[in-house]
Amino acid sequence: MRQNKHLLLWTSLVLLGTLIWAAVDENFLRDWRRAQREARGKLAASERADLPSQVRQIVLAETGAVERCVSCHVGMALDGKEVPGDKVFGRHPNVIHDPARFGCTVCHGGQGTATLLEEAHGTAPHCPEALLPKRYAYASCGSCHAYQDVPARAGLETARAVFERSDCLACHRMDGRGGTMRPGGAGGLEGPALSRVGMLGYAPDWYAGHQRKKAAASSGPWRSSMPELTDEERRSLSAYLRTAVGAPGLVLAKSLFLSRGCLGCHKVGGAGGDDGPDLTAVGRKDPVLTPYARVRGPRSLENWFKDHFRSPGRVVQGSKMPLLSLDEREADELTFFLFSLRRADLPMSLWPKDRLCVERLGGREFASDGETLFGAFCSGCHGSAGQGRSYPGLETFPAVANPSFLKLASDRFLADTIRRGRPGRRMPSWGAALSDADIAELVKTLRRFGDSPFAGDSRPARWARGDARRGASVFQADCAGCHGPHGAGGTAPALDNQVFLEGATDSYLFRTVKNGRQGTVMKGFGAGSPGRRTLSDAEIEDIISHLRSWRKGK
């Protein structure tokens, strides 16, 4: 009885204490309450009443989602109260997309419903997404936008150089640069801002107008800064201005991505190869499914991307991704672009025009010229100019721009190879992803890289009449060392590939064996070389017949 009374007394007191602590926690210690207390402390005494302690949120009219970031960032809500000049509690800088309508997370990431600091910024466990690092903030444009027809990097670099050289920034402002007053009354700020000119458009006859004004002016920037431009330079300028979409650096970063051949193995929005993971939403990579075990440095998606670029095989075990040997600046830029691959799951009625074009109307995110296509789809394996690549631990990728190869290969053979790929090898078939026109562009680009047209072939596709059995023994003796005993490839390309055997003509095979391939270890067998014996034409024909015997189901 007495024991029970004691027990009742003490447990009741513990309970009471717990409840009181819970009440204190609820009413004073919540993260958002602390933040608002701090904000009130920074306000003038007369204004403190304008900021009562309460949860604030933005209700997005279109999606019905709620975002409570403004519970702490009180200055950024219409119904809050800003602390002027404060980083956390101040007003949001003026941006195209009004936060009151678009909310915060579509640009900044993080967990909008949360009112606890760690949960909101996405550093707590099980958060859907972490806050986007501030310097990659413009990557979030990719949540909704899909910039179309982005060309390869090299052209854009030239274009940017033209823009800088032409002193456009004397009068125009772009991405926070330029347009400043210059000493000595040299002017400034006369021209309209160009940051979003790629989306808004500009007068096609601007150059004539500029020149008229230059002619009319007697001094000042019109005379000192406005240069005369060639047609070529004006084309470059217009290419550069198309990248001015209000997201500084994003289109340039995308062009880098398109120049590194990433699409050869990875898909983005349905275009690309199947060898690597689909990257369409990699910017929102699920933190749970992301292996951080072997990543050096802090546990963040940014660091994962960068470390992965440094050494793909270390971060993801068994990765077949080649080492890209990027410098840190390029790795940073690619990381920036990967963060922009974060399509938000929005109803189609909210999509901007460019995304509609890309996802519904057949628009493409990459330009359709041969250089861009080669850069985007081929350069990862075949090298930036088709010179071939070999990566440690991976098979050798052939030099497709080799002149002695291009001389023997007809356009049809090249196009067919691109269209059908090499089944069973890493070369995928591009017939579904690329149109015939694209493939024709690629073939033209290859010819340009190798600077060699097709030498022509007057003989029929199949003319060799050799003896396959004799050929087999010659093959074992002279070819198997590099091409493998059954032609499955080794240090040299595979020869047993069905599509290859179907497409390659006898002339192609014959001349390749006889004359060899310049610049590779494949020396011509027609004229002897040190350590190799000379093969007679008949022997080469025998080999061809032997190769043909691998063709299945004729």
């Binding site: 027990l7 409840l19 419903t113 749970v288 499914l289």
Partner: protein
């Protein structure tokens, strides 16, 4: 006018008809004129009030249930049972509902404590042999309560609609379907598919979705709590009708002399039977008994109960203050949680399920439940009722059996973890063989054989029951620990969760 003035007084006396409980009679009246207290006896045996008799486990489970009831109703103010909204509404409860996070934590911790309380209560009843005649039926009611409690917790598990919920319930639903292992083997699934039907009834669809959520919600907030309340009423009522808590026959000599004064109800054994309006047959429980060793329930029993209530409340709330109820990522039907773990009290089963879905999820649990249900009907002995480890063998037997049970489960699991099972040794073994020969079934068989051996050795069913029950406790505990701590991604064996690494 006078009446109006006197209204507070009259209202009070209409409310509290028996007056202040100062006398014994007043106290008895206080109890049986109060609808909430009248399930209590007016007087309670001093044996029942000893702490070691029950350790207050039943009341602890009850108070945890009350807590879940109160907090559950509160959570229903904000919870929205639809896949598109459920997860976000839990987030809202966590982030912006005043006291919401605390209330949800209490709900979860109280649910856990309720399960623990029910299991320990059952162990207490078993080891004090309190299930014996005339309490066999109440033992069955208690088992029904255990099943309903587990069902409540399983249905509640889905409601947050996070990864854990989605995949645990997906697994649970497929366990319900695992009867197909048998019907497939016989080749009659196409005509008669009770497994598929069970899953369909459970989910209302072929996979976990909106239909399943609303079903689970209905079960969780309506059907199961009502069933639990009804069963609880029967359970309590039977305690009284079965003559209170079980106590040894020589209880008088086992109790110390009472402190203060104890007022016997009957000074000599009454001979009258009661035949209320000729409806009730038989004798009152007191007929033929000597003077009772009882004290008034008010305040003695009330105080003890209040203390246990308060202890449970304080424990739940203190836990809730410091440990948040988990909420993982929103359910993603495309990417399974890895490892997808059920609540801890199902992890023993999940370990068995990892060997055979049907045997682990349906077969063995059914055998266990049937075995437990049969205990009071097989054990008709009288020795040791109401005493801890009463009966032949006593605590030595219980301990030895516990050791045997642990050794057996460790041996079987070690073999399975280190060397794999039949399929690794003889690829192509038909499923039906694995269904019947797997670590779970072997373990069950070992326990059964051990129990039979104990029955022979002590020539006592009770001894066999103690052996079996202790073995099962060992098995349950060790399998649960393995499931909770030593199983990681892909249900692989890991010495510690810190070794899971990136997967």
């Amino acid at each position: 006018m006078d009446n109006l003035v006197r209204t507070p007084m009259t209202f009070w006396s209409s409310l509290n008809r028996s007056g202040m409980p100062v006398s014994d009679r007043g106290r008895s009246g206080f109890i049986f004129s109060n609808v909430f207290l009248h399930l209590h006896p007016a007087r309670v045996h001093r044996w029942s009030l000893r702490w070691p008799t029950t350790w207050g486990l039943g009341i602890a489970a009850l108070s945890a249930f009350l807590l879940t009831l109160i907090t559950g109703v509160l959570l229903m103010f904000y919870y929205k049972p639809h896949p598109a909204a459920a997860y976000l509404s839990i987030k809202d409860i966590h982030f912006v509902v005043p006291t919401g996070r605390f209330i949800r934590n209490i709900h979860r911790w109280a649910a856990n404590i309720m399960v623990v309380g029910v299991l320990l209560h059952m162990a207490r009843v078993f080891f004090t042999a309190s299930y014996r005649r005339p309490r066999e039926f109440n033992w069955l009611v208690g088992m029904a309560l255990l099943v309903v409690t587990l069902a409540l917790s399983f249905t509640g598990y889905l409601l947050p609609w996070d990864q854990l919920a989605f995949w645990a319930v997906t697994i649970g639903a497929n366990i319900a379907q695992s009867l197909r292992e048998l019907t497939d083997a016989v080749g009659m699934t196409a005509f008669f598919d009770p497994g598929g039907l069970q899953k369909l009834l459970l989910l209302g669809s072929d996979q976990v979705g909106a239909e399943a959520l609303i079903r689970f919600y209905l079960m969780h907030v309506m059907v199961l709590p009502l069933a639990l309340a009804a069963l609880l009423a029967v359970h309590f009522w039977r305690i009284r009708k079965d003559g209170g808590l079980a106590r040894p026959a020589d209880v008088g000599s086992r109790l110390p002399p009472p402190e203060g004064r104890v007022y016997p109800v009957f000074t000599e054994a009454p001979q009258k039977t009661y035949s209320l309006a000729a409806i009730v047959r038989g004798k009152t429980p007191a007929v033929g008994n000597g003077p009772e060793n009882t004290v008034p329930a008010m305040p003695h029993l009330m105080l003890a109960e209040a203390a246990v209530f308060m202890l449970t409340f304080a424990a739940c709330l203190a836990l809730s203050l410091f440990l948040d109820a988990p909420l993982k990522e929103m359910a993603n039907p495309a990417v399974p949680e890895n490892p997808a773990k059920a609540p801890w009290y199902f992890l023993g089963l999940q370990e068995l399920v990892s060997h055979s879905a049907f045997m682990g999820g349906i077969g063995i649990p059914t055998v266990c439940l049937v075995g437990l249900a049969l205990i009071p009907f097989l054990d008709r002995e009288e020795e040791g009722t109401g005493l801890w480890f009463g009966g032949p063998g006593g605590w030595r037997l219980a301990l030895a059996s516990f050791m045997f049970g642990s050794a057996a489960v460790l041996a079987v699991e070690t073999v399975a973890i280190n060397f794999g099972w039949i399929r690794e040794w003889f690829p192509g073994t038909p499923q039906i063989v694995i269904t019947f020969v797997n670590p779970g079934t072997l373990l069950t068989a070992a326990y059964a054989l051990y129990s039979v051996w104990t029955v022979r050795r002590y020539d006592s069913t009770r001894a066999g029951a103690i052996g079996l029950f202790s073995c099962f406790i060992a098995g349950f505990l060790i399998l649960t620990v393995i499931g909770v701590h030593f199983r990681g991604p892909n249900w692989g064996f890991f010495w510690s969760p810190s070794m899971w690494g990136g997967h």
